[in-house]
Every structure is written in structure tokens, then in C-alpha cells.
């Protein structure tokens, strides 16, 4: 409603037609870190921890998300803000069902997906094979990958300066690799889409192109979550913002309202 530039956003729905797509219910996420227990890190210390009976030996718990509840609706673009380490990315992963919850639950409509395939790609393989591998890893069929292949390569612009797609990815500059990764990730349409600071990759020309692609993805996606430290891109994209601080939901409301408080908080 606050967005003039996105007519495609189905905000014309009456409040009665609000359809929830993501419901988080008292969500807690705890990371367990091995070998980071405070105290002596020597082998004998580790041994004594094993011998001594304790509840969980040598494991440090990090409570990353503490009791977050919210409901997101179809057609909404929700921004997630908060300082570093406040639990934004963790929350996204939990919504996507990629991180098991300690307690509480997330209910979703269909399968939410994170925008990003970095983890599936291999630096020692050619760009060409990475496009195929990444597409398959995101759950595209072989035919879909074949269909989209040229589109992905063209979008990345990797071949603008010569035949680079047949070289191993480790030979790419960091910008080129980032462009290819984004192009692969953005090739698939999603029900509930989550974007983790993926907006600013590559040179200016590519940034414009990728922002355009994200707008298209938003159009086809039911609900979009965006994690970013860039308040401008949050303002441009989102109509609602969740503010996380130390794993707790500090504020939840319309973009302007929350950002005003957040900017006051960060002293901007």
C-alpha cells in the first residue's frame, strides 16, 4: 500500500481476503557449537570433560532466535532488519525448514526457498557444469535446466568478454562468480521466496539487472522475505518490516514506522 512503484503487488485485496502463508509460533532456534566451550582448550581438558559427567560436554549453546511469532500474508514483502548477529538469517533458514527448531513451529504454504545456491556449486568445475548442477540442486528437472541454460548464461553476462563459461569457476573474478551464482539462483520461481542480502552483487550494470529480476521474482512469488542492511532497498521493496534484536522480535509493523525507530536506535 505504501509502494507506488509496484502495481503488480496484489495489495488490492480487502482485509477479509488476507491469506496467511507463513505462521511462526513461539519459535526458538539454538545452535550447538562443539569445541568452543570456554576454558582450557587442551587435549587433557577435553578428556576431563568427557570423563566428568555433565549434561552436554564440550558443547556451547547459542540461542539465536528466542520466541519469535508472526503471521505473513500472501502478497506481502516482509523486510528483516537488525544489527549483525541478531538472528535474521537464522530466522529465514528456520522458516525455510532448513534449521530444526528447538521449540515452537513454523507453518508454511508450500515450500519456502532461500535465494542462493552457493553451497551446491563447486569451484573446480566449469561454469557450464555449475549451471546444470545448481539448477538440479534447486529442484529443477533436467529439461527445465536445459531450457533455462542459455537464459542463465546470458543473464550472468559471463560470456560477454569471451568464452568463460567453459572455464573452471575458480578462475573467475569474485564479481564474475557472484554474478553467475545470482543468475543460477534467480532462474527458478518460488512460492515463498527469501532473499538474504543478495541484492548488491557485481558491477552497477549487473545490479540494475538483478534488481529488475528480483522484482519479477516478487511478482510471481506469493510472499517475499528480504534480509538486508541497506535501509533503502528495504524501503524500495518491503511494505512490512520485522525488527530483530538479540534473537527477539523487537518491532513488527509498516516499513516507515519500524525503520524510523530502527534508525533512531542505530543513531543514524
Amino acid at each position: 500500500m505504501a509502494e507506488p512503484d509496484t502495481e503488480q503487488n496484489p495489495v488490492d485485496q480487502t482485509p477479509e481476503a488476507l491469506i496467511p502463508t507463513v505462521v511462526a509460533d513461539e519459535l526458538h532456534i539454538v545452535y550447538r557449537v562443539h569445541g568452543a566451550k570456554t576454558g582450557k582448550g587442551s587435549a587433557t581438558a577435553a578428556l576431563s570433560r568427557i570423563v566428568k559427567r555433565g549434561e552436554e560436554r564440550g558443547v556451547r549453546k547459542v540461542h539465536a532466535v528466542r520466541g519469535v511469532s508472526f503471521v505473513a500474508y500472501r502478497g506481502e514483502a516482509v523486510g528483516l532488519i537488525g544489527s549483525n548477529g541478531s538472528g535474521k538469517s537464522t530466522l529465514l533458514r528456520a522458516i525455510a525448514g532448513l534449521l530444526p527448531a528447538e521449540s515452537g513451529r513454523v507453518y508454511t504454504n508450500g515450500q519456502p526457498s532461500l535465494l542462493g545456491v552457493n553451497a551446491a556449486l563447486m569451484n573446480d568445475l566449469t561454469g557450464e557444469r555449475n549451471v546444470i548442477l545448481g539448477g538440479l540442486a534447486m529442484g529443477m528437472s533436467r529439461e527445465q535446466v536445459r531450457e533455462r541454460y542459455q537464459e542463465i548464461v546470458d543473464f550472468s553476462g559471463i560470456n560477454e568478454k569471451g568464452d568463460f563459461i567453459t572455464l573452471p569457476m575458480r578462475t573467475y573474478s569474485s564479481g564474475m562468480a557472484a554474478r553467475l551464482r545470482f543468475s543460477i539462483a534467480a532462474a527458478k520461481d518460488h512460492d515463498v521466496l527469501m532473499i538474504d542480502e543478495a541484492l548488491a552483487t557485481g558491477d552497477r550494470k549487473f545490479q540494475v539487472r538483478s534488481e529488475q529480476r528480483i522484482r519479477e521474482l516478487r511478482k510471481s512469488a506469493g510472499t517475499v522475505f528480504l534480509v538486508s542492511h541497506n535501509n533503502k532497498s528495504i524501503r524500495d521493496t518491503c511494505d512490512r518490516v520485522l525488527w530483530l534484536e538479540r534473537g527477539e522480535l523487537r518491532m513488527d509493523g509498516p516499513t516507515e514506522e519500524v525503520l524510523k525507530e530502527y534508525e533512531k536506535f542505530t543513531g543514524k
Binding site: 482485509p15 509460533d25 545452535y31 507453518y107 504454504n109 551446491a120 523487537r250 536506535f265
Partner: protein, 309 residues
């Protein structure tokens, strides 16, 4: 945190809704939402896995290629590595220790090399399985796919690795006077059974390794013990001559020994069926089916918990 004037209250989304007052589970039920990251039923799980078969294959091939892509000789190492392995074992057990025990040279060398390759197939599948989840947490935390794809993919990678080794093996076997015959066709069912067995084991250790990554440190010792008791470098029946029948049979039904002996029987002319324990095919099938089915269910039972660090 200098600024504490903020009231810290959570502003609830101001949208009016007819669903006011519903609890989260009720709301979810009303709109047909499902729990994110919940474990699918076994049948659904198999279906999802089948849908990912192209990914599993592509991932295994990618890993295989990536392995030697920085080496100057490149993919030649796929063949050179097993060859060097065979040479080392031959030098130690054939030349220095003379473990052949009454086997002629023409039988012993193919016997040894077959044993090394077949055992390495199981061994490396297990080692890859232990780290299948714990070593790929980034992937598990970023993308959705049935997690069994990973251990299966690693086992498949080892199968392809073995196929390279098999070409080396064929050359060695023929070089020592055992020529291709009908019995070579038995290689296919043997490989299939051993692959199922390995995959089952990889699934089991993948779940254990996801919970306790220390297993990766422990595993080499377990595997080495297993190797030395499986008769990789010596014939169990000849080495244990004079021991009780029960003891020899006990060593022989060991799945690693079973698959090795079957492969030797198929390939080597001078290695007759007298070297095989009774009901060898039934035992080979039993190990494959039980381990694969059991391992698959065991892995699936923890599906929703993979990815926790």
C-alpha cells in the same frame, strides 16, 4: 546499547483480520499450512528422492571430476591411483611377506588386486558417508532436498571410481592368464549387491556422523581392523587352516569377504568355488538387502534433524 529509552514493546501488525483470536496451529489448519521442515512419510520420501535422481547423479559426477581437476595429469589419476595402490600391496604382501600361501603367482596377484579394489569400494563409501552430512552442512542449510541424496550420491561416486579401477583390474587379470569368460557376467550382480550394501552402510554412518562428527576420526581404525580380518591379502580358508570350521565360516560370512570372494571367483580362473562358503549368493543378497533397507529407514527417521550444527 546506549539508547534504552525505546519501550521495547512489540507492535503487533495493525491489520484487522477475521482470524483474530485463533491460535497459530488453528490458523495454520484453517488455511492448510504445513509445518516447515517436517519429515515426510517413508513412501513420500522415496518419491521425493526419485525426483532428485538427476541431482544425485550430477552431484556424484561433479565430485568425481572435481577431485583431480587441479592435478596436471587430470583424470588420469582415476586409473593411476588404484594402480599405485595395487603396486604397494603387491610389494608388501607379495614380495616381502609372501602371504600367497600356496597360491601360484598367476592367481595370487589378481587375487590381491581384486581384494584391494573391492574392499576400497566399501571403505571409501563409508568414509565418504561419515562426512556426507557433517561435511556438507552449508548445502544442507541452504537448499531443500531429501538428505539421503547426499550419502547415496557419495556411494555412487565411489561406484564410478570403482568402474575406473575395474578397467585396471581387467588388464591385470588378463595379464596373468585369466581370460574373459561367461563367469565375468557375474560382475554385474556382484557390483549391484555390494553397491546396495555400501549405500546402506553410508546412510547409517551419515546419520551417526551428523550427530557425532568425531566418528570421522575413529572410522579409519575400525575400517583397517575390518580390512585385516576380511582376507584382502590372504585367503581365509588357507591362512586359517587347522582352526575350527565354525571360526573359518564366521570369518567368511563377513560381507566384505563375501563380495571379494565372489568377485575373485568371477574373474580368476584358478580361484574355484571351493574357496567360497556355502550359500554364498544368499548371504551376499541378505547383507545387501538388510543393510540397504535398514540403513535407509534409519537415516530417514532423523531427516528433520539434519542441519543442526
Amino acid at each position: 546499547m546506549s539508547e534504552t529509552t525505546h519501550d521495547g514493546g512489540v507492535a503487533v501488525s495493525p491489520r484487522p483480520s477475521p482470524d483474530e483470536g485463533l491460535t497459530a496451529p488453528q490458523l495454520a489448519a484453517k488455511y492448510g499450512l504445513t509445518v516447515s521442515g517436517a519429515r515426510p512419510g517413508l513412501v513420500d520420501y522415496v518419491r521425493q528422492l526419485w525426483g532428485r535422481r538427476h541431482f544425485i547423479l550430477a552431484f556424484s559426477q561433479a565430485k568425481l571430476t572435481a577431485q583431480y581437476s587441479q592435478a596436471k595429469l587430470g583424470q588420469l589419476w582415476q586409473v593411476a591411483t588404484p594402480l599405485l595402490n595395487a603396486a604397494v600391496y603387491f610389494f608388501i604382501f607379495g614380495v616381502i611377506l609372501k602371504a600367497s600361501r600356496g597360491m601360484s603367482r598367476d592367481v595370487y596377484i589378481p587375487f590381491l588386486v581384486t581384494g584391494v579394489f573391492v574392499f576400497t569400494f566399501t571403505q571409501s563409501s563409508i568414509m565418504a558417508g561419515v562426512r556426507a552430512i557433517s561435511g556438507n552442512l552449508g548445502l544442507v542449510r541452504a537448499l531443500h532436498f531429501p538428505r539421503a541424496s547426499l550419502p547415496i550420491s557419495f556411494a555412487l561416486q565411489q561406484l564410478q571410481q570403482l568402474l575406473f579401477s575395474m578397467t585396471v583390474l581387467f588388464v591385470i587379470v588378463i595379464g596373468f592368464g585369466s581370460y574373459p569368460s561367461l563367469s565375468w557376467l557375474l560382475i554385474l550382480p556382484i557390483l549391484l549387491l555390494q553397491f546396495l550394501f555400501n549405500t546402506g552402510l553410508a546412510l547409517i554412518v551419515a546419520r551417526m556422523g551428523a550427530k557425532t562428527p568425531d566418528l570421522a576420526q575413529l572410522m579409519p581404525f575400525i575400517l583397517r581392523t575390518w580390512m585385516y580380518t576380511s582376507g584382502v591379502m590372504f585367503s581365509i580358508s588357507k591362512m586359517m587352516e587347522g582352526r575350527s570350521e565354525v571360526f573359518i565360516r564366521f570369518l567368511q560370512v563377513n560381507p566384505a569377504a563375501i563380495y571379494m570372494d565372489l568377485m575373485r571367483f568371477a574373474l580368476i580362473d584358478g580361484y574355484g568355488s571351493s574357496n567360497l562358503p556355502p550359500h554364498v549368493w544368499a548371504i551376499a543378497t541378505f547383507w545387501a538387502v538388510v543393510l540397504f533397507a535398514g540403513g535407509f529407514v534409519y537415516f530417514w527417521q532423523a531427516e528433520e534433524r539434519y542441519g543442526r550444527g
